[in-house]
């Protein structure tokens, strides 16, 4: 059913349609509306049987999910930012144990300085945790991805993280088509765990593995994650039969004859597409590649989507300090030999506007783009701070000074 609904609520509805049995959660902006809605559905009995647990921390929440999932319960949680980092140890553990937990990450920056607004720093920091990472462009896609995520997770015994941009998507009210319960039930059979804590057939889960087998365990985990790419088209097809919408690991947009292509993840793709449409109208051969599955990284699909591109710009919503792009490295590996620029944009909630994107693309097309560009960087502020830093050479929070500068003080 199609409705005008907040993204968080839509995701909560989608999750509820998947009949999770245990939902542990710890509140963190901008994930709160999702778990609030779920707690309400559990309390009202609309989602039954399901246990909603107010965890004492994100670490606790993921740990509760681990226990719940290992006992054979379909388990879901949501978090963001610092919360994801606080979960980090448990994330690796859930993945290592092959527990098919599904989690929403309402993407948000990581402090310090503390920042509650959207970027991808959080999820990117956990890209090697062994979780499957799927990024939603819109709330509709977020909904579809969640339904897909449970099926994918449980079929392959892997945890799946659905990443949706905090506030930008979670708090946006827009039309979303939710599948019906019967359809979801048909798509998503009851959870049959590969391994389960059960007195009927006891096993020991979580052995200590030494040098003699650890490499093999890791290799198998890698192979298992790659299976996601094999399995995804079929499952997406099944889901498309239900929803009429098809999810792909990689979605090219107007790439056919594009010699400059922007690669991006998440909600910025919408603004990018509008920008590309605009430039196309002006005759510039530009395109967009949206990456939905970042882990496992769809190397072949990305390579295929970029096959005709002469220039590639990777629009990053996170920064690997000291290197620059994060996604860029994977794109480069997929398409070696093609000029690949990194544009870091929208950190900490800075709006990524069509105007800025347009200017950046024009630069790209004109080969004026630096290998690493910070979109809309306030040059004046950073130059002043750098000059000051060079003069005083002291440690301390640059952020304080910048804020002071922005407030108009300037020292």
């Amino acid at each position: 059913m199609r409705s005008q609904i907040e993204g968080s609520r839509a995701v909560a509805e989608a999750v509820a349609l998947c009949r999770p049995q245990v939902i542990p959660a710890y509140p963190i902006s901008p994930q709160t509306h999702i778990v609030e809605a779920l707690s309400e559905r559990v309390a009202s009995g609309a989602l039954h049987p399901c246990v909603f647990i107010n965890a004492e921390s994100e670490f606790g929440a993921m740990s509760l999910a681990i226990g719940a999932c290992a006992t054979g319960g379909r388990s879901y949680t949501a978090t963001a930012s610092q919360g994801l980092l606080f979960m980090a140890e448990a994330l690796y553990n859930a993945a290592g144990l092959g527990l098919p937990i599904v989690m929403t990450v309402a993407n948000r920056a990581i402090g310090a300085p503390i920042n509650i607004w959207n970027d991808h720093s959080d999820a990117m920091s956990q890209r090697d945790s062994g979780w499957v990472q799927l990024y939603a462009e819109s709330n509709q896609e977020a909904v579809d991805l969640h339904v897909l995520a449970f099926r994918l997770a449980e079929e392959l015994s892997l945890p799946v993280m659905v990443c949706m941009d905090g506030f930008v998507l979670t708090h946006a009210v827009e039309p979303v088509d939710l599948p019906d319960q019967a359809g979801v039930d048909a798509f998503l059979p009851p959870f049959r765990p590969r391994q389960v804590l059960d007195p009927v057939a006891p096993v020991s889960i979580g052995a200590m593995v030494g040098p003699e087998a650890f490499t093999e365990v890791r290799y198998l985990a890698h192979v298992r994650q790659l299976e996601v790419l094999d399995r995804l088209p079929d499952l997406a097809g099944e889901l498309a039969a239900l929803t009429g919408r098809r999810i792909s690991a990689v979605t090219p947009y107007r790439c056919d004859d594009a010699d400059t292509v922007v690669v991006a993840l998440g909600s910025v793709l919408g603004t990018l597409k509008d920008t590309v449409d605009e430039l196309r109208d002006e005759g510039l051969p530009v395109g967009v590649v949206g990456v939905t599955a970042f882990r496992p990284f769809p190397v072949r699909a990305v390579a295929a989507a970029l096959a005709g591109a002469r220039r590639v710009v990777v629009l990053e919503r996170a920064l690997a300090a000291g290197v620059g792009g994060i996604v860029t490295a994977d794109v480069r590996a997929a398409r070696p030999g093609v000029a690949c620029r990194t544009v870091v944009a929208g950190l900490g909630g800075r709006p990524v506007t069509r105007a800025s994107l347009r200017a950046m693309l024009l630069d790209a097309v004109a080969d004026r783009l630096e290998p690493l560009t910070f979109l809309d960087l306030n040059r004046e502020v950073v130059d002043r701070e750098l000059a000051r830093a060079a003069a005083t050479r002291r440690s301390g929070p640059a952020a304080e000074n910048i804020l002071h500068d922005l407030a108009g003080g300037g020292r």
Binding site: V168, A172, V173, E174, G270, T271
Partner: protein, 185 residues
């Protein structure tokens, strides 16, 4: 694409207003996107919410810089916030104000409606958002009053919805009368 920006204070239902507006547009078969200014502001702080309405799917996610309409839920904001920033030259302004609108130094097209008074009278609490949406429907014609009233009914429990519907209806009537009066003038 029709872009609306709503200014208010935390706790005044600014976000709800944007959402209800988007729902009203949605019920009319159009595409709409409502979203708040993403901040950590607490009750009383100036806040903004946005609503885009279009006949095509809305993909862009940038904040509304160029607005077709600005709704000001709290006139005291006018002293602190540049509510008119990015307003299209022919853009509409709807302000919650019980007095004559020309006291407010707003563009000539600005319309005032005493939404707080209407809310107090109908709802019993100073929540001007529903009334302002009624006024918006009358002022811009972007959504029908009935769509606004349906959105309100879909959002609130029956008695509260009825009170808000009454406030919206009355605001609609007042603004419509005002607009007609101006047109006539």
């Amino acid at each position: 694409m029709f872009a609306v920006r709503i200014h208010g204070r935390g706790g005044q239902g600014v976000v709800t207003a944007a959402e209800l507006l988007s729902v009203a547009a949605f019920t009319e078969g159009r595409h709409a996107q409502a979203f708040p200014s993403f901040g950590s502001e607490r009750t009383g702080a100036p806040v903004v919410a946005f609503c885009r309405i279009d006949t095509r799917p809305i993909r862009t996610r940038e904040p509304i810089a160029i607005a077709d309409c600005v709704i000001v839920q709290d006139p005291t904001l006018l002293r602190h916030v540049d509510v008119l920033a990015g307003l299209r030259p022919a853009g509409s302004v709807l302000v919650n104000w019980a007095g004559p609108v020309d006291q407010l130094e707003l563009p000539p097209g600005a319309v005032a409606v005493a939404a707080t008074q209407l809310a107090l009278r109908h709802v019993g609490r100073p929540v001007p958002n529903a009334a302002l949406l009624g006024g918006f429907a009358a002022l811009t014609g972007q959504v029908r009053l009935e769509s606004v009233l349906d959105a309100i009914r879909g959002r609130f429990p029956a008695s509260l919805a009825a009170a808000n519907v009454a406030a919206a209806q009355e605001a609609y009537d007042l603004v419509r009368a005002e607009c007609e009066e101006r047109q006539d003038a």
